[in-house]
Symmetry: D2
Subunit: 255 residues, 4 copies
């Protein structure tokens, strides 16, 4: 598969820096290691190399979902891929699922959700900020998932239109405001998930979930520790991200 | 959607224990809280309840992928869902991808991979132990992914049949033995991942990947910390799983 | 230095189990590897060995402060050595210091405090439970620090007798009840520390400390991760203690 | 106790920054919040305040051992207080102990060791770099522990002069070179400790300790997680130090 005009390509430098670019003949891209002519990529394959005018090599890579998430235009704090990955698994999102997401932020989780329900599922993405929705829509569309997502300008307190959805995900400052609306929209056995930075939010969320009859509640955080691997001198890196948010999960009971 | 004979259902007790059962009229299932008549579930919806002869309630839930992974019949140490979730994301597996997995173990990662490439992708699952392959096949088939997976009895040193695959995953005691075969089978820009319990394996794996020209190498571990959330007295749980394995990722360069 | 009757010795088995015993001629001590005649230790040196009737070897070791802490008779949850060690350092306890401890528990922290203020300092250990005080006194005395500690039966709300102490340590279910009494008893620049299992306690404690004018507040937790080190196959242990408590520190301002 | 000329004082700003200064009349000290006349501190008590010309307040505090450790003049990577604190506890250093330290670095651990053996113990601090020894000596002397420490210019391979010491601590790039010398110098039942940044060093160290007959081996790391505590919105800090080094401990057997 050869790279052509309009393709979105991840450039990887020799010092492991990455850049997400749209390939176009005549386009110049400046880096810390010199300038690249992006047209040089046309006709090359993924994994191959183009060079700056200084002779520095950049690999041409097809961006993964994680690359697209990390490079999305951000108007908000984004969800880390580690958190998105576990949300997908814990909520058990399958191809064909219908999912409500409230608090769309920059649309980063929306990408991951869309990919998971592909090709027949549907994501209903609510936010009360029009600028967030616009930016998210642009990010999701560029990642190729525009068809699967319906964006809706709405405050969580006004509820959701859909019923019988499989999963609801709440990424809100006050996620407990979404628990009653979610309870009305989720099918029996369906899953709910929320993300929150503070313990106080987690506590209040778990109270709301309990009151609304959600079951199998679980609250957790994910820590990623990276290693500097070198023959004979391998060790953890000296600094790490130690907090992105707490995740809370539950399932809808019918009682 | 009503539960019917033959459905695979997750039973959840009031004390948060889960059991994966196949529903059949006349079948009795014994638990720590008394016995259930599984036929009682027929005609009920997910999220509803059946009771033991002692009046103890069990919720009827549709199992998520994670539930199926954790309840799979094990002949080997299984891959934890947290690790599987990040492998899926980091390797960027999309619907339609072709993926080689070597070291199929109990087929737990196979389930997650199959779900990710659904409906048009393909998983090629190699193992040199016939008993492992048989058990994995049974687990994967019961999870509904049998059609997407080709199981192959083969030692890693004999290489893989496929070329131009998108991703190779090595879950082997000596994953470096799979690096050359993987390099021949992966397309340019495709991803490789391995799992290993010891630092020494990680170090040796990274050396092999470097020698074979893989790029963008990353080694990490994932820690999940769970919280006991109760109003006014929230705290982390006192014990946790502190090691399941190290993950190493890379991408295929063409040079 | 030879071991003699009455010495307190740590026995270490070949499988790394430890037992704290008082040496006495004629005394028999039963272990999972057979019985030991403790009199056999008399006249031996530390680091030497005695054997069970089955020929299993036990090393004779002089117990460290940590050994004594871990082997103390417990009527309560004890403070972990890792937490005690950091409390000593963060509160800057020096030889000669006068320290109030409220919530004496099993006297385990008392031992560490006594050792730190040796030989001229003084520990004032308050508790409202007489049985706790009695047990703590016995543990501290057996560890050889009896002379340095004054035990006082008193509820925290009735305040402390001492003034101008260097450090106050609160190990109470409601440590904020001790903040005003502590403020009256600590000298300018002196330190306060508390231990609490929940986030809610930490939050309430920090509010109280702020209100009473304590400065340089810091809240943290300590995690210890242990490794299974074997040539060519080194890895973290698979389970760990993931929560013992949160520590909060502050200093007394004069305003 | 009033502050006087020559006292070493910790200045704490309203935004929690600290500075270690020697008080002297007429001395000006510049900070990010304006300049302080250090003479203003004379006659004040600890916990009291002096102000910059801009009216910004700085608290006058007596530095703890940790403050002195963190503010020591550094020619090398220093030992973190969390690691030093656990070394003291695990090696069971008591007042009166005789301790060898090899690899004196900037003398930061030396301070902590000196404080622990005060008033009658002795620290023998070896290093093969004269500049390190000179700097360490200055740091230790300023912290008030000069009398307790003997500094020796020596490569570890040339062994130690002392015998029958209670504890040996190795902070060397190749700590295994110190194991045989340590074995000759430690009394029966005495403790050894080492610090190393990489897994490979830990593995090699444990092999050496095993070969020399050390027992009760333990390797671990300490992680400190700090919390941002604010009423109703408490959470972990977003970044942390995730690696300072691994600690290995053992005891000397006589066989």
């Amino acid at each position: 598969m050869k790279i052509k005009t309009g393709d979105c390509v991840l450039l990887l430098s020799s010092d492991n820096k990455t850049f997400l670019v749209d390939i176009k003949d005549g386009k110049i891209f400046s880096t810390h290691l010199g300038t690249l002519k992006l047209g040089d990529a046309i006709g090359k394959g993924y994994g191959e190399v183009i060079q700056t005018q200084l002779g520095k090599r950049f690999f041409l890579l097809d961006p993964t979902l994680e690359d697209r998430m990390m490079k999305a235009r951000r108007l908000t704090q984004i969800i880390y891929p580690k958190d998105a990955a576990l949300i997908l698994l814990k909520t058990g999102i399958l191809s064909g699922y219908r999912v409500i997401e409230c608090g769309v932020g920059s649309g980063v989780l929306t990408m991951a959700l869309s990919n998971a329900v592909f090709p027949d599922g549907r994501i209903y993405s609510y936010d009360r900020r029009e600028d967030f929705l616009d930016n998210a829509k642009r990010n999701v569309t560029e990642a190729g998932f525009g068809e699967l997502v319906e964006f809706k300008l709405r405050d969580v307190n006004d509820g959701f239109d859909e019923t019988d959805v499989d999963v609801v995900i709440l990424d809100l400052p006050s996620p407990w405001e979404g628990v009653s609306p979610a309870a009305r929209s989720i099918r029996g056995g369906g899953r709910i998930a929320s993300l929150s930075p503070t313990f106080n939010q987690v506590e209040k969320m778990v109270e709301s979930l309990t009151n609304e009859g959600f079951i199998n509640l679980e609250s957790l955080e994910i820590l990623i520790r990276k290693f500097l691997v070198r023959s004979g001198k391998t060790r953890p890196f000296e600094r790490m991200v130690s907090h992105t948010g707490f995740l809370t999960f539950g399932r809808k009971a019918i009682v």
